[in-house]
């Protein structure tokens, strides 16, 4: 991507996509309540129609590979009755789109597109009124096809949307029906269509960005090149908690180094070329204090259980129904187990990168962020400029799956650009990405349950310990100590406690405990849910096995709702599930390879239901677990783009198989040792299972999230399958060969 980025470069190929920087700002900017951002109450903030009929739709949400761009455009095209190719999406530009919160948590299709759906319905109503006036006929006599309004089938009485409104403002006020950025919604007088009338929704429209991706012409933050742009590399501390004591010069001269910038513990080398920045950072003589702030990965779960909760996050009662203690006393049988889910790394293939151009008190920032608004606010604070002077242009990063180091790189670029008065590009090195990105915190669980004489759960007691998230977007070295604000882990804020809520237990207690973070923690695909599901859905399996019940039948007798029951039955069908208790009858076989199957359910995660069945082969000699097939039944509500949904299910499943079999952040007392793809391996081609998917369409329901829910179920499904195969319950992840072999040998 060349410097021409600053001019308009609208790409259009096979559908709705636009890459446009420097296009004139939306006219609503001056009226906005949020500084510099368009006003959600104006229809013009959401849609504009050009004379040629092109519909430009503006959303604060961003797409980074989930095909939201395509799915959003499908809904808008259907609401307006225009061809799919007529819709162009502008996503996330803080100067031109309404603030709609972070593009995270799998809620783009659920909440992100909702106001656009309502705005498009209203735009259609307004356009029909204009046409009715023009032809002097009642609106009821009008029909719309491909953006052409016709009156009573009379060819002389037809007019295009472009002719009706082309390049003019609607000047229509919408009612903001839901405040609060992520859930923001608007309503006009028109109702959105009955989804049974949709023609484009429900089709597997190809993603318009793909022809550009395969020819390397798709914009990517890593490829932003500005005139006079300099490159920078950060010099990060050798250990968490280490501080700079001295910054010397370059140990060997590096041609091209422009400047060394230091501010407290923030050290960076700015150079004319990327290679000079890398060589400069490697050669800079920096002395750090020695810091040993970690308990070592072996001690991490003990730390979580024994740490004193920060004053602002006392133990939280997430859910309490009935009387768990009393019910446990009356139980025919009780169970208890501890589960440990390690810290994991987002593993972004492209290390974090940001490009910024700060001129005086104005900043233009090219960011791979998931949350342009908070990136903007962080930068404004750091640079000490008004927020409306900072324009954040989201450009696709590498798939990120959670808030991560990308924001560090962006903010560092802005700071460095301010210092050197030139555009600056910052990219992390691989080891920096692996060891300094905000990690998914570890979690440990104690579960207790009691069953009655028929083997039905009558009490469920769930307690989790994890550490708080750090939400400050400044690079860790630039955060003033007093600003290291921690955020309560997300699941503790939600009523229901995750998967436990799939079942209608009469006596239920869900407790969340928050420890002070030892490493910067943040969201990673399915945050909180994957951990709770890993523990809860294996514990369900333990009880089913101990009471001689089939795992799916056992779940179905515990108050699973109709949608949950439907995905369970569907996954049983596609996996040819044989009803029987675990472990498998072959568990005592002497064959080297043991085979098993296991199930897991997630109910109503972002309005989506998923049941996953894993099939595994366990090598009794080496302990190696091979996941051979994954069967995934998904009810995502209204299906907008089946192939896009399948791509997300495949990706989310593989990501979670990788997390289950391989991934754990390792550290000693001083530092992380998982610093690259050898020390932190992820799933490879030869290890990827076959994936069989079945979708259940619910046109009467809103479209549900899809990036995260299928990522939630695999760890428990695989853990249950390993138990089914070898009769040994492994309650710690990852299921490495060494761990499984040791468990088999001691069993």
């Amino acid at each position: 991507m060349k410097a021409t980025m600053t001019r308009s470069s609208a790409l259009k190929a096979g559908g709705a996509l636009v890459v446009s920087f420097g296009i004139p700002l939306s006219p609503n900017v001056a009226e906005a309540s949020d500084p510099g951002r368009p006003d959600p109450a104006q229809l013009d903030s959401w849609l504009s129609i050009a004379r040629n009929g092109t519909v430009t739709a503006f959303t604060g949400r961003i797409d980074f590979g989930q095909r939201k761009r395509t799915a959003f455009a499908q809904i808008i095209a259907d609401e307006l009755d225009v061809p799919f190719n007529a819709v162009v999406m502008v996503m996330g530009d803080t100067a031109r789109t309404v603030e709609q919160g972070a593009s995270s948590a799998s809620d783009g299709i659920l909440y992100g597109v909702r106001p656009l759906r309502h705005a498009a319905a209203e735009a259609r109503r307004v356009l029909l009124n204009l046409a009715a006036k023009r032809f002097d006929v009642p609106v009821a006599q009008l029909t719309v096809t491909n953006g052409i309004v016709s009156a009573g089938g009379n060819p002389s009485k037809s007019v295009s949307y472009g002719e009706l409104i082309g390049n003019q403002r609607f000047n229509v006020i919408l009612k903001v029906t839901n405040e609060g950025a992520p859930f923001l919604d608007v309503a006009g007088q028109a109702q959105p269509k009955d989804p049974s009338l949709y023609k484009i929704v429900g089709k597997s429209i190809p993603a318009g960005e793909i022809p550009h991706i395969v020819t390397a012409t798709w914009p990517r933050v890593h490829n932003v090149r500005l005139p006079e742009m300099l490159h920078a590399r950060l010099v990060l501390p050798p250990n968490p908690g280490a501080h700079v004591t001295k910054v010397g010069g370059l140990r060997t001269p590096v041609s091209g180094v422009v400047r060394v910038v230091t501010k407290g513990d923030f050290v960076a080398v700015v150079a004319k070329t990327e290679w000079a920045a890398i060589r400069g950072a490697e050669n800079l003589d920096v002395t750090w204090t020695r810091a040993e702030t970690l308990p070592g990965d072996e001690g991490i779960f003990k730390y979580l259980r024994s740490a004193t909760a920060p004053a602002q996050f006392p133990q939280r009662v997430v859910k309490k129904t009935g009387d768990v203690d009393a019910a446990l006393k009356t139980a025919a049988k009780t169970f208890t187990a501890e589960y440990n889910y390690p810290s994991q790394n987002h593993g972004m293939i492209g290390p974090s990168c940001g490009v910024a151009d700060v001129r005086g008190n104005e900043a233009t920032v090219y960011a791979g962020t998931q949350d342009a608004a908070s990136t903007r606010s962080s930068i404004a604070k750091l640079l000490d400029v008004p927020e409306q002077n900072v324009r954040v242009l989201p450009v696709e990063p590498a798939g990120c799956y959670g808030r991560l180091g990308i924001d560090d790189a962006t903010v560092a670029a802005a700071y460095l650009s301010q210092q050197v008065r030139k555009p600056v590009r910052v990219q992390m090195m691989r080891g920096q990405e692996h060891t300094w990105e905000p990690l998914q915190p570890p979690s440990t669980f104690t579960l207790r349950a009691g069953v009655d004489a028929t083997g039905k759960v009558i009490a469920w007691d769930h307690q989790e310990w994890t550490w708080a998230w750090v939400t400050d977007e400044l690079p860790v070295m630039l955060i003033p100590k007093e600003r290291i604000a921690a955020q309560m882990p997300p699941l503790f804020r939600q009523p229901g406690g995750g998967e436990v809520s799939a079942y209608g237990f009469d006596n239920l207690r869900v407790l969340g405990n928050t420890a002070p973070p030892l490493l910067r923690g943040t969201a990673m695909r399915s945050p909180g849910r994957i951990q709770v599901n890993f523990a809860g859905e294996q514990f369900m399996d333990e009880i089913a096995a101990a009471t001689g019940q089939d795992a799916i039948a056992f779940r179905l007798r515990h108050g699973v709702d109709e949608r949950g029951a439907a995905v369970l039955k569907e996954v049983a069908k596609i996996s040819a599930w044989q009803s029987r208790p675990s472990p498998s009858p072959d568990v005592r076989s002497s064959a080297r390879i043991a085979r098993g199957r296991g199930v897991s359910l997630v109910a109503s995660q972002r309005s989506t239901y998923v049941a996953t069945v894993a099939e595994v082969e366990v090598d009794r000699r080496t302990g190696n677990v091979r996941v051979t097939r994954m069967f995934v039944a998904v009810d995502p509500g209204l299906i907008v783009n089946p192939d896009g949904i399948k791509a997300q299910i495949e990706g989310a499943t593989i990501y979670a198989v990788s997390r289950t079999l391989k991934e754990e952040v390792k550290f000693d007392r001083a530092k992380l040792s998982t610093a690259d793809w050898l020390t932190y391996p992820i799933l490879r081609f030869t290890e990827v299972p076959d994936i069989v998917i079945s979708l259940i369409n619910r046109p009467d329901l809103p479209p549900g999230g899809i990036g995260e829910p299928p990522n939630t179920t695999p760890p428990a499904a695989i853990g249950n399958a390993v138990y089914d195969a070898v009769g040994i319950r492994l309650r710690d992840l990852p299921l490495t060969a060494a761990r499984v072999k040791a468990a088999i040998q001691t069993a």
């Binding site: 390397a216 290679w275 990706g651 690259d676």
Partner: protein, 152 residues
């Protein structure tokens, strides 16, 4: 002494120092977007390019070591039209974020040069040195098989 390399069929004289990894020469001096920095350690494949018809990792290849040789990036993979692997990638709707995909396409083109009709196992083995975090591997396996059929 300046170094000359051929990139996407064009001869280029390189100003970067001879120890500069080819990746930075391609990206920063020649302005190409296809090869991307993923690890700098030859572990992930995001920077893969063709040296002749063979895949190499440009992040660990000093530019001096490919002097006077022919390099092809994903930008030069098709000649006038899309290379069959690029078309197959579109047909199978492979990419999600796309960061690894230039390297994947290079690896696929290189694999099909060596093994024109690979089995599924050969495709997986042939692509195994490339990492993808989005989980596009099943579609890549299908796309390589499709490209092989279209080239037959």
């Amino acid at each position: 002494m300046s170094i000359t390399i051929t990139v996407n069929k064009k001869q280029r004289t390189i100003e970067s120092s001879p120890d500069t990894p080819l990746l930075y020469v391609l990206r920063d001096e020649l302005g190409l977007d296809g090869p991307l920095f993923g690890c700098g350690l030859s572990q992930c494949g995001a920077c893969a390019v063709l040296l002749g018809k063979k895949e190499i990792r440009s992040c660990v290849t000093p530019v001096a070591s490919v002097a006077n040789l022919e390099i092809t990036t994903v930008e030069g993979l098709g000649t006038g039209k899309l290379h069959p692997v690029q078309q197959a990638w579109i047909d199978e709707q492979v990419p999600q974020c796309g960061y690894c995909q230039s390297g994947m396409l290079i690896a696929a083109a290189s694999l099909l040069e060596r093994v024109p009709h690979p089995t599924e196992a050969q495709i997986k083995q042939g692509m195994n040195g490339h990492l993808c975090r989005c989980g596009t591997q099943p579609r890549i396996v299908k796309a390589v098989a499709r490209a092989a059929r279209s080239m037959a």
